[in-house]
């Protein structure tokens, strides 16, 4: 599995041709909104026409006046021309307005795309360090539409090309010299553009890192949990100084970028002026010699201005291609990541049914090393979990318990060895099939911001009896019944004012109910009673057997009292299984488990017994 990931990652790192980026971008826009996509291509024509007509109108006006025609011969054609201009401009502006409005909603679409892709990707890929930069840039452009905003104006380039052709012909027809001047100034501008492009690319990544830092502080400042610590520990000044520090860094980077923009703009403007003044003088010369009428002069100058403006716009847009390329490349790469799991099912329904009734989890010589550090988290673990068996996993923090859980849950894959489910390797399953066999209650599991019932049933159809039973066994029935909105109670106060904020203990009980309801053949519980008070904990233990009947359970807890009702206990230390057996067996062995058990036990003893034990421990 790791091999596949490496290959997939390499493929993405190849540089992409510009046309591929543009094609990708256009496809995304089309998916987002067809009309927007159409607008992008339909606008250039009215854009060009309005440019042309707005140069013609004043010129024709002057010509008619010069020629001293009759009123109707003067004003009628002018009025018609004016109307045509009006229609073109309205069409253009309406299109542009639509684009402007719709663009604003692009981030919604892009973030949605992003999130769906995150769901499709494997956990390992999301966490992989080599994907970090790509993902944070992709997210940056999704969240703010960076690059995509600019990209929608790309088709204005079509309009400018049209304009250039039309005006170029109109100007060149009359005076090749002027055409040359205009073209030359544009060439110079293009060169300057290249330089600016390079600079932008260079600084973009750094800036987004700092911006992310700022966003982190802004959100943490408002976070309720962080807020308590911030006040008590007086972190205000520290955080504000950090914030200002990042701001200064961002400023530095932008300074560099904008210095280049400034130089570019200035040079561009100078050349523009030179061009304008030069052409102007040339035309004036012609006009004063009588080689050109005033009307023609007006038109040509207007045309020249239009053409130069179009080219300027084209150049600015091309500069924005930068931003587009920078963002879209990351985004595209990101969207192309494929899950390393099998896509098509090879297991029959009967086989899956059999697994759901009961399965065997086998770990054969499994080792795991986290990719960033070279530290081995698990070494050469051999483990078999039989159908219906309750296994307790004990160990100090850092012993490798969480890693083991992640491996069994399919979130990471072993660096050595293999994991088999009733003889099937992971590659036999699709990801959906595999996770349907699991139910995991992590330490930081959460309830989703929807209604309570959806949380408990995982969105499946609500079976009232099954739900009631699950709630009862989890000790959450009482709380459920006191809710005014019952199962329809919502979780998120920011969205629904009458949502309920459950306490840690209540949440834990509901999460346990969820695990019971799911009826998965393999259930993993990581500290399920950590937030419960002694009586609630006791209640849960009482019902544990019934709740987890017929299921394989991997139970992780620091409270060694809970291991007594498990069939077997595994003690992990430094990534290996050190001791294995029932509670009695391990106590009798007098090893590490016995030692840990005693550590906890002695506080619950009477004074006399305590004194005896203390002496025992010191021997």
């Amino acid at each position: 599995m790791n091999e596949t990931h490496r290959i997939v990652a390499e493929k993405a790192k190849r540089k992409r041709p510009l046309w591929a980026v543009v094609a990708f971008f256009l496809r995304e826009i089309r998916r987002f909104d067809r009309l927007l996509f159409l607008c992008m291509f339909l606008i250039p024509l009215p854009e060009m026409l309005s440019g042309y007509l707005s140069a013609r109108l004043p010129s024709d006006l002057v010509r008619m006046l010069e020629q001293r025609l009759s009123a109707s011969a003067t004003f009628l054609p002018l009025a018609l021309e004016g109307l045509a201009l009006m229609l073109c401009v309205v069409a253009k502006n309406t299109g542009l307005e639509y684009m402007k409005r719709m663009r604003y909603f692009l981030p919604d679409y892009l973030t949605d795309r992003f999130l769906r892709q995150v769901q499709r990707m494997d956990s390992e890929q999301v966490d992989a360090p080599e994907n970090k930069e790509m993902m944070s840039n992709a997210w940056g452009s999704a969240e703010h539409g960076r690059g995509f905003f600019e990209g929608t104006m790309i088709t204005s380039i079509l309009g400018t090309i049209l304009s250039c052709l039309v005006f170029g012909w109109a100007i060149g027809r009359r005076s090749l010299a002027v055409l040359l001047i205009v073209t030359l100034s544009v060439v110079v501008n293009l060169y300057l553009l290249q330089v600016a492009r390079r600079m932008h690319k260079k600084y973009y990544g750094t800036i987004s890192q700092y911006a992310k830092g700022e966003a982190y502080i802004t959100h943490t400042a408002m976070d309720p949990a962080a807020g308590m610590d911030i006040r008590i520990f007086g972190m205000l000044d520290f955080l504000i100084r950090k914030y200002d520090q990042y701001l200064a860094e961002i400023d530095q980077n932008y300074r560099k970028i904008h210095t280049w923009y400034f130089l570019r703009n200035l040079s561009g403007a100078f050349f523009g002026l030179l061009r304008d003044a030069g052409a102007y003088l040339y035309l004036v010369l012609l006009m004063s010699r009588g080689d050109m009428s005033v009307a023609e002069f007006i038109f040509l100058f207007g045309a020249m201005g239009q053409m130069a403006a179009s080219l300027e716009t084209a150049i600015r847009l091309a500069m924005d291609w930068n931003a587009l390329e920078g963002s879209a490349v990351y985004f595209q790469e990101f969207l192309e990541r494929e899950s390393a799991w099998r896509q098509e099912s090879i297991l029959s329904t009967a086989e899956l049914e059999a697994l759901r009734r009961g399965l065997i989890v086998e770990l054969r010589n499994v080792s795991y090393r986290y990719p960033e550090t070279e530290k081995t988290a698990i070494s050469h673990v051999n483990l078999t979990l039989r159908p219906g068996e309750k296994l307790a996993l004990i160990g100090l923090n850092g012993a490798g318990k969480t890693t083991l859980v992640k491996l069994i849950a399919g979130l990471i894959s072993p660096t050595e060895g293999e994991i088999l489910i009733s003889g099937h390797p992971r590659s036999d399953f699709t990801r959906e099939e595999y996770t349907s066999l699991l139910s995991v209650m992590f330490q930081d599991s959460l309830l989703l911001p929807t209604d309570l019932d959806s949380n408990l049933t995982a969105g499946a159809e609500r079976q009232p009896e099954k739900l009631r039973r699950a709630l009862f066994l989890a000790g959450a029935e009482a709380r459920y019944d006191t809710l005014p909105a019952g199962g329809k109670t919502r979780m998120d106060k920011t969205v629904h004012p009458d949502a309920i904020d459950f306490s840690g203990g209540e949440k834990q009980r509901f999460l346990f109910a969820r695990a019971i309801y799911r009826e998965a053949p393999l259930t993993i519980l990581d500290e399920p009673t950590a937030a419960l008070d002694p009586l609630a904990e006791y209640e849960m233990y009482q019902h544990f057997g019934e709740a987890m009947a017929k299921r394989s359970v991997l139970f992780i807890s620091h409270r060694l009292s809970s291991t007594r009702f498990c069939d077997r206990i595994l003690l992990m230390e430094q990534g290996r299984i050190q001791e294995e057996g029932t509670h009695q067996e391990l106590l009798e062995r007098g090893g590490r488990y016995a030692q840990l058990f005693e550590m906890q036990r002695r506080y619950y003893q009477e004074e006399k017994e305590k004194a005896e034990r203390v002496r025992f421990m010191e021997d």
């Binding site: 349907s436 995991v440 002694p534």
Partner: protein, 607 residues
């Protein structure tokens, strides 16, 4: 114009001028230039045409052109200089805006966070204008405003004299001043009509956006935040919750698409209507200028200048209308921004706290009752308790019995609804809030470690006293783990923006939080479920080393692990918001009651 919003808009603008005078001045100058520069060309063209028609010499024409070019040159340089500064600042306006907002979030009364209205203020301020923030939009608005005004002024300056002259010289109605005046009035009228009805529609649109689209955005935001941590993704995945997530996202997307269509539809319809009126005014300007030219009222050059200028004036009038509408809308948010930034505080005490070397602090609760904001039930009822210096106190009870609430009241995160809390005999509300906070070193149940370097996390400051930090790590039982860190106190923790930091397990994080509390060396130490995530060995260390950790300080220890009660001299038992039992372990285990029940529930497994 709606008064409140406009006033808010300008208040914020004024604030910006005070805070960033250079940038704002640059904005004004930039927009002035932006407005005036295009007109130089118009002016020169008009004069050149007239000069050519009048048969002036080439030199004078060339001089004219060169003068115009030089002027335009100077303006362009000025513009580019200003633009550079303005654009640079605009790029990170959002971040700049959020700095003071973050500060306010951190200093305002804690209970404000629970207030849904204040939370929504915050969300709107920080997310309504995602690229440039409210301040950026205001800056942009100012740009438009000044540009339009300067252009109109310049245009009037250019055409004014010519019109006045010909107006005076005209015979008959056509071409006279009243005629010109009427025409200008007509154009003005069209502009005003457009502006007013446009503003009405814009306002309707904005309200529709706020009422229908923003709630959907907020819901989206709630879902989005799930994906901010990879851990939550894993949870969703292995529990088959994807269906719920996707279902909700699909529903949201659809609803949003619908609203979007409605919103944009409103906009396009009005846009077409106004566009037509505007373009009509442009065409009329040309025709009118043509008429004047036809009648010989204006010279050829002046016809061109006139048509151009009127066209641009009309354009500006329309843009101005747009800008004013936007101003009103932005003003709505400016109001929210100002409200948020000026939230009243109830932490107004000023008394300094007695600095005592002997850590002699006494605490007493007198008839204290408390209800969480927005809740109907009392979390604490009529609490009366005293405790003194150097005492180790345990607080136990069932979930939701008021244990953590008492601590939150003591540390003044909330103020009691009824009753008084005293420290050293003085009502805590009289103390200066920052000084009061300095009395406590707390590890909350839902503590947060920020994604910074370990030294910074421990000291909550840029500088960390090395010895003091090492000692704290030692006493919290984290020394060994710390020795493994390659960069020592500079090691980043977590996956923040320092890049790959050390990943600490839940238990290690808890120890780090304790180290932080120890480092602070505050006289009163409070630990809320400090061993919840610790393994048996680490838990034992905490129990054994509690004395060492806490020293002579007043300590309050909240835990479900009743074993911790064995080393506390005083135990408070809470149930349903009330204090129901008090004593030491022997006393409480001896009498019938909640304590014994809980004790036996835990102890039986160790028998």
């Amino acid at each position: 114009m709606a008064g409140k919003e406009t006033r808010a808009y300008f208040t914020v603008l004024g604030d910006m001028f005070r805070r960033m005078p250079g940038t704002m001045t640059a904005t004004v100058v930039m927009s002035l230039l932006k407005g005036v520069t295009p007109l130089t060309l118009v002016y020169v063209t008009g004069r050149v045409v007239d000069a050519a028609q009048a048969g002036e010499s080439m030199e004078s024409i060339i001089r004219l052109v060169l003068a115009g070019a030089l002027l335009a040159c100077g303006m362009t340089v000025g513009y580019s200089l200003m633009e550079r500064r303005v654009n640079r600042n605009l790029e990170y306006m959002l971040e700049r805006q959020n700095g003071p907002v973050a500060r306010q979030s951190m200093t305002m009364d804690y209970e404000n966070r629970e207030n849904p209205r204040i939370r929504s203020l915050w969300t709107e301020i920080t997310s309504r204008f995602p690229r440039f923030g409210l301040l950026g939009i205001e800056m942009d608005g100012l740009l438009h405003l000044v540009r339009c005004i300067s252009l109109i002024a310049a245009a009037l300056v250019i055409v004014g004299p010519g019109l006045l002259r010909s107006g005076r010289a005209a015979q008959g109605f056509l071409g006279s001043l009243p005629c010109t005046g009427l025409f200008l009035l007509l154009i003005m009228g069209m502009c005003v009509y457009n502006t007013r009805s446009k503003r009405r529609v814009e306002k309707r649109m904005f309200l529709m956006y706020d009422r229908e689209i923003v709630p959907l955005n907020m819901e989206r935001h709630a879902w989005l935040s799930l994906f901010s941590s990879g851990d939550q993704q894993k949870d969703i995945r292995v529990n088959g919750m994807e269906r719920v997530v996707n279902g909700a996202m699909d529903r949201l997307c659809q609803a949003q698409a619908e609203k979007r269509r409605k919103y944009v539809g409103m906009d396009i319809r009005q846009n077409i209507r106004f566009g037509v009126v505007y373009q009509l005014s442009t065409v009329l300007s040309y025709l009118f200028a043509g008429l004047y030219g036809y009648l010989g009222v204006l010279s050829l050059g002046s016809v061109i200048s006139f048509a151009e200028c009127v066209r641009r004036i009309a354009q500006c009038m329309f843009d101005l209308g747009d800008a004013m509408g936007e101003m009103e809308y932005t003003g709505l948010y400016a109001e929210k921004y100002l409200e948020y930034m000026h939230l009243p505080s109830h932490r107004t005490g000023t008394l300094p706290v007695e600095k005592r070397q002997d850590d002699r602090f006494s605490v007493s609760f007198e008839h204290v009752s408390f209800k969480y904001p927005g809740s109907e039930e009392y979390a604490l009822r009529d609490l009366n308790v005293d405790f003194e210096i150097g005492e180790k106190m345990a607080i136990v009870g069932r979930n939701g019995s008021g244990k953590s609430t008492m601590i939150k009241l003591l540390t003044r995160l909330y103020d009691a609804t009824e009753g008084i809390i005293r420290v050293n005999g003085i009502d805590i509300r009289k103390y200066n809030y920052q000084e009061y906070n300095a009395l406590f070193g707390v590890v909350f149940q839902d503590f947060q470690l920020l994604d910074f370097r370990i030294g910074e996390i421990i000291s909550c400051a840029e500088e960390t006293e090395e010895d003091r930090a090492l000692d704290a790590l030692d006493r919290a039982g984290l020394r060994e783990r710390f020795e493994e860190m390659s960069e020592g106190l500079e090691t980043p923790i977590g996956n923040g923006f320092y890049g790959r930091g050390e990943n600490l397990s839940g238990g290690e994080r808890q120890k780090l939080a304790m180290a932080r509390a120890i480092y602070k060396n505050a006289p009163i130490v409070i630990l809320d479920e400090p061993t919840a995530k610790l393994d048996p060995e680490a838990e034992c260390e905490v129990f054994e080393g509690f004395d060492r950790m806490v020293g002579r300080k007043t300590a309050i220890y909240i835990s479900h692990r009743l074993a911790s009660c064995r080393f506390c001299e005083d135990i408070l038992v809470f149930n349903g918001g009330r204090l129901v039992q008090r004593g030491n372990h022997e006393q409480l285990a001896g009498e019938e009651g909640l304590y014994r029940e809980m004790w036996q529930a835990q102890a039986q497994y160790y028998a």
